[in-house]
């Protein structure tokens, strides 16, 4: 991807960059609706089933969830640092910040996987070992939502970690120069995955703690 070369259809590099940014936002709009449909379903079930649905949410691990939110928000700050230092012309700093971003992403995945393992041991995984007699059908619906939402989010994060790693290698080897769009676009994707989690966190982990 020779990112600074001007495509024949553009007048200026600035125009080319803005077109790339608009394309990324158009893609992110489809992602908003993708996760938004899941959240709309959650809101429906929460209103239908009320207290029983909220009680199921309190079976999630709030300490691990809060720690993971802090990890992901920090990774976003590191990503913003990578974009800023890369634009400023530095080569070493963006590689280090991208490494920090990717590592924090991996920490998030490890904590998430630990949670899933704990939930497996507590017989909370629908279709695998859900204990219907103990937790009830409404709780099973909540955990279907929980595993779909956190699973799809983790998948997006894994794609983000791959992109960030690829980007760090390209910047490190000098094949990507400042002035292009690649770093900024991958940054937009990373921050979007962060925003999805910002909304999943209160819906999954904070419901039912006030009893």
């Amino acid at each position: 991807m020779s990112d600074r070369a001007l495509g024949f259809q553009y007048g200026t590099l600035a125009q080319q960059r803005e077109t790339a940014t608009l394309g990324m936002w158009a893609f992110l709009a489809t992602e908003v609706l993708f996760f938004g449909a899941l959240i709309a379903a959650y809101l429906n079930y929460r209103i239908w089933f009320g207290q029983e649905f909220i009680a199921a949410a309190s079976l999630t691990k709030v300490v691990l969830g809060t720690a993971n939110t802090a990890v992901l928000l920090t990774s976003s700050a590191c990503m913003a640092m990578a974009v800023t230092t890369f634009d400023a012309g530095s080569k070493r700093a963006p590689v280090l910040w991208l490494s920090a971003t990717g590592l924090l992403g991996l920490v998030f995945i490890v904590i998430k996987a630990t949670e899933w393992w704990l939930e497996y041991q507590e017989h909370l995984v629908p279709a695998l070992n859900f204990d219907l007699a103990r937790h009830g059908g409404v709780a099973e619906i909540f955990f279907v939502f929980y595993f779909c939402a956190t699973g799809l989010h983790a998948l997006h994060l894994l794609i983000g970690i791959s992109l960030v790693t690829w980007l760090a290698v390209r910047i490190g080897s000098g094949r990507l120069q400042p002035g292009g769009s690649t770093t900024r676009l991958i940054g937009l994707y990373w921050h979007f995955v962060d925003i999805v989690w910002i909304f999943l966190f209160p819906l999954i982990y904070l419901a039912g703690r006030n009893a």
Binding site: E18, T21, L22, W25, A26, L28, A29, T30, E31, V32, L33, G36, A37, I39, A40, L43, N44, I47, W48, V62, T66, T69, A70, L73, T74, S76, A77, M79, A80, M81, V83, T84, R184, G187, L188, H191, F192, D194, I195, I198, F199, F201, P202, Y205, L206, A207, R209, N210, A211
Partner: protein, 97 residues
């Protein structure tokens, strides 16, 4: 975006995270979800405006960014207008007979 702005945003995000987690344990009834979703919106706005650079972007880019959330609002409101108002009571036209 300046380095100082990035870490000020990070600090604000951490404080909001602490506030939302603490507020979830306060017995406020249905007000809890209003507070936690309100704080989630504030956090998302910080990420959108600063980290995703919408504050410094042209109106066209902002319109593209807003479009997805606007369609999501339509989806949730129209879904809710149906499902959240269903009751076991008969519709008025059925109560006549």
């Amino acid at each position: 975006m300046s380095v100082a702005t990035i870490w000020r945003c990070w600090l604000a995000l951490m404080l909001l995270l602490a506030a939302t987690t603490a507020s979830a344990f306060a017995p406020l009834g249905s007000l809890n979800i209003v507070i936690s979703l309100g704080i989630a919106c504030a956090k998302a706005l910080i990420v959108l405006l600063f980290f995703m650079e919408l504050r410094a972007s042209r109106a066209l880019v902002r319109a593209f960014a807003a479009a997805g959330f606007f369609w999501l609002l339509i989806m949730i409101v129209l879904t809710g207008a149906d499902y959240w108002h269903r009751t076991d009571a008969k519709a008025p036209i059925d109560q006549i007979y």
